[in-house]
């Protein structure tokens, strides 16, 4: 099976989260299944039998680094599989099963209070887990209740108290630079705190990718009680755009797919486009926008 064929087969079930051992362990705990054991039995064992222990070791390394999707995708670079072997089909079937199970339980895992699960996710954050290279899935649309307002930073409040602790990596970063003078960068309003926190998350935990990033920003605003379409929320989104363009979070893949026609596009990262994307639940290409006279009402 060549790369394209294998990719299309795997994409029967879309899962934007890297199914690395830590994430699979979290799924194991929640569902009381043993997916890691299934992977060993269905993929790693047969790989060792067909191609030797080095191939099995390579697969394990790919699984740990890139997740199950890409580890299987790399089969295209292996020597030809013997005709009678069904390893590729079995691997894809197992991926579909696990990916579907994960997507069905993703929110339960995220929201679980079980420290056994949360420590797996903490490990992923420490390792800079990011779904950057994977196919996105449609996001739930965030529709504005009023037309988007002009972005404006809220006034300073000298007595502003943080709602969240400073991101621990920010502390380490500034400490490592020999600086403990945090007062200069102290947030003076809720918008500052949201931007500070998102900057830290994307810098230290990994940039999530062009597809989900603005949904993450908007959802985070909502958690702070800020409407992403009011002046404060729009200021936050605009500031994050500036940071993305300023490469605060490094380079990232700017290509995505139109949610309507499936064509590839490289969207302009500007507020108007982003607001439409949030309202529609994904990026739409300019042709589709024009054809369907899409706008925010």
């Amino acid at each position: 099976m060549d790369y394209k064929e294998l990719q299309e087969r795997l994409n029967w079930v879309k899962c934007p989260y890297r199914l690395t051992p830590a994430r699979l362990q979290a799924l194991n705990i929640l569902t009381e299944q043993q997916y890691l054991v299934m992977i060993t039995q269905s993929i790693i064992g047969p790989l060792a039998r067909i191609f030797g222990i080095e191939a099995a070791d390579q697969f394990e390394r790919d699984l740990k680094t890139f997740g199950l999707y890409e580890a299987i995708l790399y089969f295209h670079s292996y020597p030809a599989f013997p005709e009678e072997e069904t390893l590729i089909e079995d691997a894809c079937a197992l991926y579909h099963r696990i990916a579907a199970e994960y997507m069905a339980n993703h929110l339960k895992i995220l929201n679980s209070d079980d420290p056994n699960i949360q420590n797996q996710l903490a490990l992923l954050r420490e390792q800079g887990d990011s779904p950057h290279n994977l196919q996105g899935v449609p996001q739930p649309a965030i529709k504005p209740s009023t037309p988007p307002q002009h972005p404006m930073r809220p006034p300073d409040d000298e007595n502003y108290e943080r709602r969240l602790p400073i991101h621990h990596d920010t502390i380490s970063f500034l400490d490592g630079m020999g600086s403990r003078a945090f007062d200069e960068s102290k947030p003076k309003n809720v918008a500052d705190e949201i931007v500070e926190h998102l900057d830290a998350r994307f810098m230290f935990e990994g940039f999530p990718g062009i597809d989900p990033v603005f949904f993450e920003i908007a959802t985070f605003c909502q958690r702070f009680g800020v409407d992403p379409f009011d002046s404060t929320g729009q200021w936050v989104i605009q500031t994050m755009c500036e940071h993305m363009e300023g490469e605060y979070f490094g380079d990232f893949n700017r290509w995505t797919e139109c949610g309507l026609c499936g064509g590839e596009l490289m969207p302009l990262i500007m507020l108007e486009n982003i607001n439409l994307t949030l309202a529609l639940g994904g990026w739409i290409c300019p042709d589709c926008i024009e054809r369907q006279a899409l706008k925010i009402t």
Binding site: D113, N116, Q118, E126, L164, P165, I171, S172, D175, F182
Partner: protein, 417 residues
Amino acid sequence: MSLQSTEELERGELDRALGRLGSSTILSDPSKPGKRLTDYVFDPMRRTGVSSYEAIRDHFDQHWSVTCVEIDSEVRESLPFSAPRDDLGCFSVRMLFAIRKSELYLAIRGDLRNCNKTVALLHEIGHLAFHFPLLQSIGTLYHRISMDPRLEFEIGGYLRSSAGTEMISLLELEADLFAVSWLVPLAYDEERQSSGNQEGSESRLTGDGLRYLLLRRCFDHGTDGEIHAAKIPGYNQLGEDLRRTTEGAYPLHGSLWERLSWVLCQRDELLSPSRSKQRQESMRQCLELFGFSPRWIPEMAGKRHPIWRDQPNEDQAWIPRRTPEELESAVDLHHWEPFLVLPSGKSVPAYHIPITPAPNREKRDSKVEWRHVGKADSVMPAALSHWRKTAEDQQVGLLVFPRNPAERMLDEMRVIR
């Protein structure tokens, strides 16, 4: 050329000898601070000891990023390995998070005289020098217990065993050894030994007398300066009496003076190779239990074998308990350790939810919002009542990490942590 003050000279010596280490370095390479400290303190050629509390405190705060907080109340070690006595300080490796880096700070009782503060501070730095990896491993224990509550009883079995009580004693003894060796350099042992050969001289300090005098200087700066000849016989006699009183076991529950005098008198033996072997064996046994790597969390792989030979039982619990009704009032008391709130009728739930207050200038923990220790920073904290209900609904425990007095003070001072 202007003369430097004693304090300036001492600060200069600390800069030269200990240099600078960020907390990131300390946490990522736990052996580094220990080596630097022990190389300095146990250097047989060193003859001076920095005794300024401010100089030592400031050096660790500014150049090692280990904050020292003075507390005007009782201080206790926040670990299961704490000697059951009134502590003058604690070295806290606050392992609030199982996976990521944690906080270091020293807490000292602020109501002590300066000399005693110096000794207390050096004792805590001694824990940093000798026991830092072990303290990290022990700190991780709470998180492992939240993942597997049965682990608490296994650890309890160890703590009640002779190996456990010996370890508690060893940790305190070594910290005292560090403190006294900082203030009374090893070079004086040679001088004391040669003085000891002079017998029956009323105008000369004996080895015992010299040792007594050096120890007195640690606690009372008034004995600095020239020694009056008339006082020499007194010092010699007191030194001899001191040596006799230290011939028993290490006085774990004794005063600071009793402990340091015992350690100083026994220093030769404590630094001997045979003692070092004994120490290594005790430490090895302890680390086998808690994990050689500070972040050894076998629960992450989903399996754990029982680690202590005796059959664990619920009588071996050691984390303090509170009822759900006591939760809001309990968090506002002075705590140096976490406590457990268990669901009714369930002494060993599937897991404990670990929670801690989000840093806040508000002094009362019952009035601030609390966060799940394992979840991302971006998850909004919630009121204590929310967590109590969540734990009740899920029929699991709550492992509550209230802020200790040092952390409340750091929050009030807006020190980032």
